[in-house]
């Protein structure tokens, strides 16, 4: 909400320093996004050089066809001769003049100068030169005014605009008057009554308004104006709209916008003659009504849930959102039907959502507009239309349902102090609430109608106290009870995984959980993604890591090793997906390198894994393995240039295998008996099977069995390999005899020979 101070001052005497005003609003009311200085620099004496002038003489410059030579009374003893490039005025016009020495917005300082042989002492000004607006048409022509009057008295030639970010709970602040009310409360200032006073009505014509949907439209004030002259608005009105961020259009439309910005109630004006039977019907769209062309020229589809303004025959506007093109005010309009209504937020929000059409008006309706505001809005608009267009107000209707009662809220000052943690005197609390328009009744408050949606519980009133005293609230810590903080087992182990992988040379990455496509056909797909790349909830991490590795390789980075811990989203029909936390990695090097990293990770966690040959679409068909928690393998060569390894493991599955605690074993008191064996087996026998068989055959005395060499060569024979194992036999209860070790070794050899047709080589 852009609030020009020149406008704000109509309603409250803002006298405090600007910094103080901005910072108080910022802390207690709404973020002040910007404080914008507009127009003529307010330096010493500069504003006095901008005056109202009366054009005494005007005629063509003798030596320039496009220039006008004017003599202007600026309130000095002698009139000034000024050369001007605009022709939209003549003798007798009241204009805005800058005298020599004046500094214009943007820093240009005017000097006396000679144009085609004629001296020009100053400048006759346009809106643009004063930064009042964007109008190119010509210079400003004022209605009247005495020559020499400071221009600043009639136009906000220097202004400050506060740009406030109004939160959704404070639609009452979406108006200059609402901000004035807040400023008055914060600074204990007097507030002017709301602007607008009904002029005398000049007729008693019937305004036919039928509300068929009181829920969607609890109030509809309709007013009829005849013999309206559509034209540009006066400079002061244009300046205010421009400063507040709206473009002036024509007097009637500008008035509706001015009232919306001034009071907060959006209005709409119809060209009365375009309404069939001159009638207004507020109803939902009919099933047979297909589209409406709105005044932005777009043909928009209607839905039966849309609240429409209709005439006797057809829908003519989306209520509260946007009017139709056919019934809008045009240059030729002479009779105007003004709508000052109240619309219910929820339904209007749905329509605005569906149409993707948020407007200044709908933005206010969806937050909730005070239904009691409509009559003030109608009065201000009527006053201005009559004054600015010469039109006659001839008809009035106020169709209303039972309007909601103002809430009555219990309030305990001692509860407020306790809740805030700051002792605030109860008289001060009552004073704050009263200044904000709440009426005290015993232990209760009657809330003002413009805050009825926001203040309906005690805590809402406590907030009013808190925000007024926010900076004084001390910094304390809770008095603690029965709670302790610690990481869960999962969180502890997750940190261990992160640290282990870092120690193993992998750098952690964060990749988007949304991907372009996923291998699972039923992966969750967003209804309205912002891009094709971020459209589907991934069911695996590896593809994202392949991308990250590729980007690093393309960037020329070396020794790439990456890992990520993140969720995957496994679809479950109409339910929420099953979310699993996984760790995945990708690193330069072959299968055994990656397996080594995974084994080291498993050692850190004290997890034993069962390695099995497997298949995976992203992995090399001959170099892919599966363990209980996931997959490990060499990347399929089509994925990336070079040799890469990759893994993806499910953390819950992995952590389920982590022992609760490590149980100590005495391995020092009784020494181990070390023996090596080498056996020749057929090529296809997996060494894992040899180790498993050795363990099984030897029983608990075999503390360790480790492959240390695999040899192929002539001595072993075609299609066979020699596998050498370190064996370590040990008991934690006694020293093993050589015979015991030899016997266990014998059982191993026997089993290997038996099962794999192994030949003992050493």
């Amino acid at each position: 909400m852009r609030v020009p101070l020149s406008w704000l001052r109509d309603y409250v005497a803002v006298g405090m320093p600007l910094d103080e005003l901005a910072s108080r609003l910022d802390v207690s009311t709404a973020v002040v996004a910007a404080v914008e200085h507009r127009g003529v620099p307010d330096l010493d004496g500069n504003l006095a050089l901008f005056r109202i002038g009366k054009v005494l003489e005007a005629g063509k410059h003798p030596d320039a066809d496009r220039l006008q030579l004017c003599v202007v009374d600026v309130g000095e003893a002698e009139p000034y001769q000024i050369v001007c490039g605009a022709w939209n005025f003549g003798v007798g016009a009241t204009v805005a003049v800058a005298l020599p020495g004046a500094e214009l917005p943007g820093g240009l300082v005017l000097e006396r100068r000679t144009l085609r042989g004629k001296e020009s002492a100053g400048m006759i000004l346009s809106e643009r030169e004063l930064q009042l607006g964007e109008d190119h048409l010509g210079i400003i022509v004022l209605d009247d005014g005495e020559a020499g009057t400071p221009l600043a008295d009639v136009l906000p030639i220097h202004d400050v605009v506060l740009d406030l970010e109004i939160t959704g709970n404070r639609p009452d602040l979406l108006s200059v008057y609402g901000v004035a009310r807040e400023v008055a409360a914060l600074f204990r200032l007097d507030l002017e009554p709301p602007p607008g006073m009904d002029p005398a009505r000049e007729g008693d014509e019937t305004v036919k308004v039928t509300v068929e949907d009181w829920e969607g439209c609890p109030r509809y004030v309709g007013r009829l104006f005849r013999d309206v002259r559509i034209g540009p608005s006066p400079a002061w009105l244009r300046a205010r709209l421009n400063a507040a961020g709206m473009r002036p259009i024509s007097n009637v439309v500008d008035v509706t916008n001015y009232v919306m910005l001034g009071l907060g109630n959006p209005l709409h004006a119809f060209d009365y003659e375009t309404l069939a039977d001159g009638e207004i019907v507020v109803r939902r769209a009919r099933a047979d009504e297909r589209t409406l062309r709105t005044l932005d020229g777009v043909e928009r589809a209607l839905d039966p849930s849309d609240l429409m303004i209709a005439d006797a025959k057809r829908a003519v506007a989306f209520a509260g959102i946007m009017g139709g093109e056919e019934t809008e005010i045009s240059d030729t309009t002479t009779h105007v039907l003004l709508e000052a209504a109240n619309f219910e937020p929820t339904g209007l929000w749905r329509t605005s959502e569906r149409l993707r059409l948020p407007t200044e008006g709908s933005n206010r309706w969806v937050k909730g507009v005070d239904p009691y505001l409509a009559e003030h809005a109608a009065a201000l608009a009527t006053e201005l239309i009559v004054k600015l267009t010469g039109g006659h107000w001839v008809g009035h209707t106020d169709a209303r349902a039972q309007l909601p009662e103002r809430p009555v809220v219990r309030f305990r000052p001692e509860r407020a102090s306790a809740f805030i943690g700051l002792e605030v005197d109860s008289e001060e609390q009552h004073d704050i609430l009263a200044r904000l328009g709440n009426e005290r009744r015993d232990g209760e408050y009657l809330v003002p109608s413009w805050r009825a949606r926001d203040l309906w519980r005690e805590v809402d009133l406590i907030e009013e106290i808190a925000r007024f005293r926010l900076a004084d609230v001390p910094f304390t810590l809770p008095v603690r009870r029965e709670m302790m903080g610690r990481l869960s087992r999962f969180q502890r182990l997750r940190r261990q995984v992160e640290d282990a992988l870092v120690a193993l040379g992998c750098s952690e990455v964060y990749t988007p959980s949304l991907v372009e496509s996923d291998s699972a056909d039923d992966a969750l797909r967003l209804q309205e993604p912002i891009s094709v790349e971020l459209a589907v909830m991934r069911t695996a991490l590896l593809p994202s890591l392949v991308d990250a590795a590729r980007q690093n390789a393309d960037a020329g980075n070396e020794r790439i090793a990456l890992f990520e811990i993140a969720r995957v989203y496994l679809p479950r029909r109409d339910e929420l997906p099953e979310e699993r936390v996984r760790v995945a990695g990708i690193l330069e090097g072959g299968f055994l390198h990656t397996k080594g990293v995974v084994e080291a990770l498993l050692r850190v966690l004290h997890v034993d894994a069962n390695w099995m040959r497997s298949e995976h679409p992203l992995l090399h068909p001959g170099k892919a393995a599966r363990i209980e928690a996931g997959v490990v393998g060499e990347l399929h060569p089509t994925q990336l240039d070079g040799v890469w390894g990759a893994f993806e493991l499910d953390l819950d599955t992995l952590f389920a295998r982590v022992p609760e605690r490590i149980v100590y074993e005495d391995v020092l008191t009784y020494p181990a008996v070390l023996q090596d064996i080498a056996v020749a087996v057929r090529e296809e026998v997996e060494v894992g099977a040899l180790v498993d068989t050795a363990r099984e055959a030897a029983g608990p005395l075999l503390r360790e069995a480790k492959v240390f060499d695999v040899y192929r060569g002539e001595q072993v024979g075609e299609g066979r390999k020699s596998v050498a194992l370190h064996l370590s036999f040990q008991s934690s209860e006694r020293t093993l005899t050589d015979e015991e070790a030899a016997e266990a070794r014998g059982r191993i050899v026997e089993a290997l020979v038996d099962r794999f047709d192994a030949a003992l080589r050493a």
């Binding site: 910022d26 700051l422 990481l487 750098s507 988007p512 967003l526 912002i530 980007q551």
Partner: protein, 331 residues
């Protein structure tokens, strides 16, 4: 043989020996099998002479051993002085990975909350309208419910827009006192820009207990901000609005980049806007079956990447998601 003369000669030879080789030769000459002393000892017949010659032998052995040790040490010293390495050569390289700045910051936050006695919660990201909006008292017309602002999977399921649904899950599961911080990914339907990415991480603390106050919220937030940005930081609050808190406030932390002297990061205000906070709205408590007259609570949340940006002076969001090792290896 004159033992005295022999001793004098031998000690002189020991003294003049200049290397371990020389002292070895002295040893052979005076104590070797064919040395005069050994031959004399073999000839000894009386006890007195024997004792005297053995004493002499021990003295000579001592002198030679001593001198030999001296010389050996001197030779080692000489040798080591020549055995020089250029200590500025790089060491053997062990590849080390790095934790992502998001994780580094996440851990600081977790640890700060653990120190205050909070549990750490990591909850689901795909949520229902019920948990993401309804239970958190979002008005039916709140803009976040719009498909323009939020990623929907269908009319009922969406990607959570804040970590707050996890608070509802915890509060539904147990009665107060509750002290928790939830951390994780959240999603907003923002276009990708230098400073925005539609996926980011958030942390959100929640406390529900008897007689918690707004002052307790301010104090707790100050503690966490100091853990994140240094002990010198100050915190101030500005009124704001969030559906699930009442009153609601936006905390500002004093700028850690310029220490309030004014810089581009703080737009020369000395303060940085950082997330949201407030007292838990009684409607939210009622929704989960907690009696708001008996219990009060506070909550506050903030972006983790945003915190990391401030900690490390990263002005854009891009480095957090592009995963370039040249960036990552700085951490």
């Amino acid at each position: 043989m004159d033992p005295q003369a022999l001793e004098n000669d031998a000690l002189a030879a020991v003294a003049t020996a200049a290397s371990t080789d020389e002292i070895e030769r002295v040893r052979v000459e005076y104590l070797g099998r064919k040395s005069e002393l050994k031959l004399a000892l073999r000839e000894v017949r009386d006890r007195e002479t024997g004792t005297a010659l053995n004493a002499l032998r021990e003295r000579l052995e001592g002198a030679i051993d001593g001198r030999e040790a001296e010389l050996a040490r001197a030779e080692l010293d000489r040798q080591l002085t020549e055995d020089v390495v250029d200590v500025t050569l790089p060491g053997e390289e062990f590849q080390l990975g790095t934790l992502h700045p998001t994780t580094l910051t996440r851990r600081i936050i977790e640890d700060a909350f653990l120190g205050l006695g909070y549990e750490v919660i990591d909850d689901r990201e795909v949520e229902t309208v019920h948990y993401n909006f309804d239970q958190l008292a979002f008005a039916p017309t709140h803009p976040s419910r719009s498909h323009r602002d939020t990623f929907f999977v269908d009319d009922e399921r969406l990607l959570r827009t804040e970590t707050s649904p996890s608070q509802i899950h915890v509060m539904e599961a147990k009665q107060p006192p509750i002290y928790m911080v939830s951390l994780g990914r959240v999603y907003r339907r923002d276009e990708i820009t230098a400073t925005r990415f539609p996926i980011f991480h958030q942390f959100e603390g929640l406390a529900v207990d008897r007689s918690l106050t707004l002052a307790d919220l301010k104090g707790t937030l100050l503690h966490v901000m100091r853990a994140l940005f240094g002990e010198q930081r100050q915190v101030r609050f500005r009124t704001h609005f969030f559906p699930f808190t009442e009153p609601s406030m936006e905390p500002d932390v004093s700028c850690p980049i310029c220490d309030m002297r004014g810089c581009r990061t703080c737009k020369f205000t000395g303060w940085i806007e950082l997330g949201g906070s407030g007292m838990v709205d009684p409607e939210v408590l009622t929704n989960v079956g907690i009696e708001p007259e008996e219990w009060t609570g506070f909550a506050f949340g903030c972006g983790i990447e945003r915190s990391a940006q401030l900690r490390h002076g990263i002005s854009e969001i891009r480095p957090f998601w592009e995963n370039d090792l040249r960036t990552l290896r700085q951490f």
